[in-house]
């Protein structure tokens, strides 16, 4: 059994139009099981675009994403949705919780969508996840009754609910204060330590430094961070990302 959880080969994402833009330009990357990878880069460098491609939220113009040994380029949109539901967990910069639902209902959403567990088992797992993230007493609260950090932790619990092999997080601490940032990053670290693969896009070099590996993106390509600080966005950024 391979130790590679996720692999991208020759990944290209191009936006066609009157003026075409290349957001991701021939990226090859492999991420091992249980590895915590931070993707960094200046604004507009293509790091979020890369993350969406790796998490099958977006389809590449060229190249292949292999998730747990399964090539995905020929999958239909429904099949890609199934892979996202069962193998990937998403955390975004904004929590994106359904506002009319309680924290617990939001956590249960992916499990209910998968429909593989009884309602009782789902509820047990949902409460267990919330408790593990320090939200036991907030299960019945709606998102507008929670703080920013609490919401983001609910979003992490939701991402974990179907026991995915890979957690994909796009600037998960981007909208949080320092204390919440530290807490959320610690949780992601713990998730990686528990054997799941975590890929995080972040602007924060200090947080990125705490990952197992840092992948620096410039102009849609992997750059060597040892070359020094990334150029200013207006000098490098193509459209998108």
């Amino acid at each position: 059994m391979s130790d590679i959880a996720l692999q991208a080969v020759g990944l290209v994402k191009r936006i066609e139009g009157a003026v075409s833009h290349t957001l991701v330009n021939g990226i090859d990357i492999s991420v091992g099981k249980g590895e915590f990878v931070a993707i960094t880069g200046p604004s507009g460098s293509g790091k979020s675009s890369l993350l969406y491609l790796l998490g099958l939220l977006d389809a590449p113009s060229e190249g292949e994403v292999i998730i747990c040994g399964q090539p995905t380029s020929k999958l239909s949109e429904s099949e890609r949705a199934d892979v996202r539901l069962t193998r990937c967990g998403f955390v975004f910069q904004f929590h994106f919780l359904l506002p009319e639902f309680t924290a617990l209902d939001n956590v249960l959403l992916p499990m209910r969508a998968a429909g593989k567990m009884s309602e009782k088992d789902m509820a047990e797992r949902g409460l267990e996840l919330l408790a593990s993230l320090g939200l036991k007493d907030h299960a019945t609260k709606r998102p507008n009754q929670l703080s920013g950090g609490q919401r983001q932790r609910v979003a992490i619990a939701r991402a974990l609910s179907n026991r995915p092999e890979i957690i994909v997080a796009d600037e998960p601490t981007g909208a949080l204060d320092t204390a919440s940032t530290e807490q959320v990053f610690g949780i992601l670290r713990d998730i990686a330590d528990s054997g799941r693969t975590v890929i995080v896009v972040t602007h924060d070099p200090a947080l990125a430094a705490r990952a197992d590996r840092r992948v620096h993106i410039v102009d849609g390509k992997i750059a060597d961070p040892a070359r020094g600080p990334a150029p200013a966005p207006e000098q490098t950024a193509p459209a998108g990302a």
């Binding site: 979020s48 969406y52 939220l57 977006d58 949109e77 429904s78 949705a81 199934d82 892979v83 996202r84 539901l85 069962t86 990937c88 998403f90 975004f92 910069q93 904004f94 994106f96 359904l98 506002p99 009319e100 639902f101 959403l109 992916p110 209910r112 969508a113 998968a114 429909g115 939701r158 796009d170 600037e171």
Partner: protein, 414 residues
């Protein structure tokens, strides 16, 4: 994908927008309610009119004529012949052996048959002369084939036999000529013979052309006015099931050879007008239901617009496009279903309310209640069509909203 989840999300969406949801439900309820009321009213008035029509006239009339002109002896003798201006003066009008024919019909007919002698005459009274159809009847048999007895406003059908040359006339005709029961009038037959008759009763059928243009007498009186003693030129049949009249008429015509006209055939033009009216009414009701579904379209459009971010996140979590689309279809179905139930109640209340309204008939001077026909089919059809319209109205905004790529929304929100 569990249906419970989809229903749960849909239910949450509609219950968290109470005002919008109520407006949508009210729109559906109005459409369904007024459609039911309109259907009940239109069908009620139509059925009432048909009842009046059917009650006023025989269900089948056997006339002393043929569908096609009888062939001439010369035509029977030669292969090709041209005949013109031929009149058989020896031919006696009327149905041959009427008693035998009636006995034969009674043996199988699901109803009864009575003879009559129909002719035209002029009533002369006080300087007024009005042409009428004079129908000679047998009072004992007539009551079995017509509602004349129940239509009598003064006197009785049997009174025809209690006075010489007695006639029964319509109320409208009596009013026109200034006649009352007990008055005498002059009746002038087609042969020019004038007889003094006494009015022994007044009837009202509800149909103006009958009430103004038809009078009844004994058979012998009508035969006298025709100048043909003993002639019976019409058999009047009343059936247990008026709707089977067309089939029975065909059978009677095949048996007797005489032209047999069902009430449907006699009123074919009118019934065809009803068909046109039904089509117009159905079109209007369909338009009402369709229009009411636009409220649902509007609400689902608003919800899908507001919920673009939720749609994106549900898709990004792995929910399939069709499943997300179903959420909004279910929302429309919830709005539709509750609106339909409210519409049923509204429709019933409107029908009940309208049935209490009376309309003043300027021609007859009577106050006529609006006739409402209550039928479960109205409720089922209005509800079914409305539900289809609502879910159909939701389909298009839902499809448009769920086709949006989640990355576009997530990027926009970020």
């Amino acid at each position: 994908m569990t249906s419970n989840l989809l229903f749960n999300i849909a239910w949450t969406h509609v219950t968290s927008r109470v005002r919008q949801t109520l407006v949508g439900m009210a729109g559906v309820a109005m459409g369904v309610g007024f459609t039911i009321m309109m259907a009940g009213l239109m069908q009620g008035s139509q059925i009432d009119f048909l009842h009046q029509l059917v009650d006023t006239m025989p269900h089948v009339t056997v006339q002393d004529e043929r569908r096609a002109a009888p062939s001439q002896p010369a035509e029977q003798a030669y292969g090709a012949v041209q005949v013109s201006d031929v009149a058989n003066l020896n031919n006696r009008p009327g149905i041959k052996n009427p008693e035998t024919v009636m006995a034969s019909l009674r043996s199988w007919l699901p109803g009864d048959v009575a003879p009559s002698a129909r002719t035209t005459a002029i009533i002369d009274h006080g300087g007024g002369r009005i042409g009428v159809t004079l129908v000679g009847i047998d009072p004992r048999l007539e009551v079995k084939v017509s509602k004349l007895a129940s239509q009598m406003r003064e006197g009785q059908v049997g009174d025809l036999a209690r006075a010489p040359n007695a006639i029964i006339i319509g109320e409208a005709l009596a009013e026109k000529l200034g006649l009352k029961a007990g008055n005498t009038v002059s009746v002038i037959g087609g042969q020019g013979n004038e007889v003094t008759a006494s009015v022994v009763g007044l009837f009202r059928s509800g149909l103006k052309r009958i009430d103004e243009g038809q009078i009844y007498s004994l058979m012998s009186f009508a035969q006298l006015m025709m100048g043909q003693s003993g002639v019976v030129n019409e058999l009047r049949i009343r059936l247990n099931d008026p709707l089977g009249a067309q089939r029975i008429a065909t059978q009677v015509e095949a048996q007797t050879g005489y032209k047999s006209v069902s009430w449907q055939e006699a009123n074919a033009d009118l019934l065809s007008t009803f068909s046109v009216r039904d089509f117009i009414v159905l079109t209007v009701m369909g338009a009402m239901l369709l229009t009411s579904s636009f409220a649902t379209y509007n609400i689902i459009s608003t919800i899908t617009h507001e919920k673009r971010q939720d749609i994106a996140i549900m898709k990004s979590l792995g929910m399939r496009e069709y499943a997300v689309r179903r959420i909004f279809i279910i929302e429309a179905a919830i709005i539709g279903a509750v609106g339909i139930i409210a519409g049923w109640l509204l429709g019933y209340a409107l029908c009940y309310g309208w049935s209490k309204i009376t309309i003043y008939n300027m021609l007859t001077g009577a106050k006529v209640p609006l006739q409402i026909y209550y039928s479960p089919m109205h409720y089922i059809v209005a509800g079914g069509v409305s539900l289809v319209c609502c879910t159909g109205a939701a389909f298009f905004p839902a499809r448009k909203a769920t086709r949006v790529h989640p990355v576009e929304i997530i990027r926009g929100a970020s």
